[in-house]
Symmetry: C2
Subunit: 400 residues, 2 copies
DNA sequence: GCTGATATGTTTTCGACAGCAACAATTCAC
DNA sequence: GTGAATTGTTGCTGTCGAAAACATATCAGC
């Protein structure tokens, strides 16, 4: 678990009495969402609340249509068997990810279950209004396919760029050519459901930390490599690093080489210019391919020039990660996209590089892992965003 | 205020009923400690709690000896005058800062008031047992001078090095030559009062964020320059960045120049090798001096070589801070120690450097400031550590 | 100076909720 | 089949904050 922290400078505002109820409802729903089905007795132990309290809370969640109970089939222990509490499939979130050449839209349930996923290809990078249109049409189609008791509670948008989460405005998405475009608000207006937007790397980390390689870890540095660059995000004491305006985590634009080339951002020697798919494809002499194929190409290569480039990129990546280790002291580093492939091609080289580039022995205390969720990643992350308000206050959002 | 955040992955454990009371007591005490005396009506507005609730909570704090009320002397507004609530001087903390050539010990009250401060010079860097001895003797002396109703509630230790805050063990303090030395526990045993230890830069940031240049700001990058190097700490969403084991914030050991010299930490081109007092003193041709004198020397110099070195260091510092801006998106950067002098010598040069080295327009949204607390800095910071448990649960610590 | 408006302290009542205790139900081990 | 262990169920209790009604103190306008 995490270290006892230095006291926070500002305390939260006073707690009213019934906020305790909301908090406890939220805690139980979140526990089920992130940890899967459990017995009521298990919830009692996990929360420290009284049996009777748990019973009342679970009953309220059941009334809200969020959970149902089943009899334990194979008890195996002494004592009265405790009923299992499961999440229903009635509350759903729509996940949206506009990208260079397509808008991907998914229907996701609690517990990270991706029910469906559709990829709308676009001839060029989709514009904002085009994206909104696609979402509206797709949500209409999804609604038509729902059971009577099912309900879409929110839309989450994972955007490759700087997003002001507070009002869902995309400040800058260079690859989509979006600039100060309101997104969440018009989507909400069009589909009649609350919508929230956030940076794709932040949501990717969130998904991995809940359902992937980062389960149960509170301090994570996450880097995701795509054809359009390197996005990053950091989990600090269990919370996503946001910064003053929600723009924190531009780890791809930190210095790794004073003698490097100029980045499109105007600086020199940025991580994402030194470590890139493009450079790897160049030495491979290949065209862009999908992730699994790229994995295979890197892993099976015997070409010395390719191996040299892989090692060079791993060394640079190690330098950058060493800096991040000195800054964040994470327990875990998670690498997604082509950075995962790069790592898999020669894990010890990267680990050694990180150790060399870290301050003192910090580099030895960190584990490096590859991201696990792959295609589900952004669907689960965006859904988490959409589910956020309901998880934080189930009765408030679903009740009256 | 801060941006609405992406939902946290792990929820806290269930809330019991009387935790609300503790939380509210803590909130009010913390509000007074960090914000100064206020009227009861002001507390009502600040917390959103009911008048009657505030009355009861303030009465309890008064009974614990933490606060007292006075009649408003000059009301100036309509309505029944609300009594002022002040902190008493009865609860005190001992602040300790072992450094290269001295152990500084202070007696600090709530609200950041430094009652006394003693500097015990040592012939060489003090050892752990020497430090503990000095603290024991000094606490005995301080106790003898207290009024009957006064009480020392804790000892806070600000250590220049890596500290595991959870158990107060100093993992590594290179300049003191300490290595895996238990500190907080033996101090507590010797003086019979709870003791806590933390990194000096973390506590410096804490102090500045509460009582200095960072008041009311939730996202701060703090760098402090001393003769022994550059220490850093970061305030993330109002909380000190700790990392998995409490070692986060080694900002002095991040890469700023691939062609730089080798640092004692083994890496090349670290910020603290490129930006240092030593290099400034070299071009100044001067011996080490105190802060105010150094300020004057840098500000008044007309020597081109000195100005060139100042500008070089400011440019390097700008590069580093640009990276930190991309990573943390802070609203404020605070510079202490000789970095404050350096900044004051040519503020626009550093601001321009940061803007150039930041991603997009992020560099324009950040303010750069000099630290304010000077000699009080670590006394207030260490006291905050000592007061932490009492601020978090006044009745629990002082009551039974 | 009076009067009304305004703001706030004080006291009492009330409602919500978590804890607790006693009892019932269900399983396992022998 | 009996006892131990575990957990659900039910009704009661204590605590705490909110709300309402009343009391108090100041200011503004006349």
């Amino acid at each position: 678990m995490s270290v006892e922290s230095v006291p926070a400078p500002l305390s939260r505002v006073g707690n009213s009495n019934d906020q305790a109820r909301r908090h406890n409802l939220s805690t139980i729903l979140t526990l089920l969402h992130h940890g899967g089905s459990q017995t009521r007795a298990g919830l009692t132990r996990a929360t420290g609340l009284n049996r009777s309290t748990i019973a009342a809370l679970v009953a309220e969640l059941a009334e809200l249509g969020l959970v149902y109970e089943t009899q334990q089939t194979d008890p195996g222990t002494v004592g009265r068997p405790s009923p299992f509490v499961h999440l229903t499939d009635r509350m759903l979130a729509v996940a949206v990810n506009p990208d260079l050449d397509a808008v991907t839209i998914g229907l996701v349930g609690l517990g990270g279950r991706v029910h469906s996923r559709v990829r709308h290809e676009t001839p060029a990078a989709p514009g904002v209004s085009e994206t909104i249109d696609i979402v509206r049409r797709e949500v209409d189609a999804l609604r038509a396919g729902l059971d009577d008791d099912q309900r879409i509670v929110g839309v989450g948008l994972a955007v490759p760029g700087l997003v002001r989460t507070s009002d869902g405005v995309v400040t800058l998405a260079p690859h989509l050519l979006w600039n100060d475009e309101p997104l969440a608000e018009p989507v909400a207006a069009q589909v009649g459901i609350p919508a929230l937007a956030a940076n794709d790397a932040q949501l990717g980390l969130l998904a991995e930390s809940l359902f992937g390689a980062g389960r149960g870890v509170d301090d994570i540095v996450y880097l995701n490599g795509s054809t359009s660059g390197i996005g990053g995000s950091v989990l600090v004491a269990g919370r996503t690093l946001q910064g003053a305006r929600g723009y924190a985590g531009e780890l791809g634009h930190t210095l790794v080489n004073s003698n490097g080339v100029t980045c499109f951002c105007g600086k020199t020697g940025c991580l994402e210019t030194e470590v890139s798919v493009g450079r790897l494809l160049d030495v491979l002499g290949a065209d862009p391919v999908d992730g699994d194929e790229f994995d295979r190409m890197l892993g099976e290569t015997v070409d010395d020039a390719v191996r040299a480039e892989i090692d060079r990129q791993l060394d640079v990546l190690g330098t950058a990660l060493g800096n991040f280790v000195a800054i964040f002291n994470p327990s875990s580093i998670i690498l997604g996209g082509f950075l995962g492939s790069l790592f898999a091609a020669n894990p010890t080289r990267l680990q050694d590089g990180i150790r060399r580039a870290s301050f003192g022995t910090l580099g030895e205390q960190v584990t490096v892992e590859r991201a696990q969720l792959r295609t589900r990643l952004l669907m689960v992350g965006a859904a988490e965003l959409a589910f956020g308000p309901m998880l934080a206050d189930p009765a408030g959002v679903l009740g009256p």
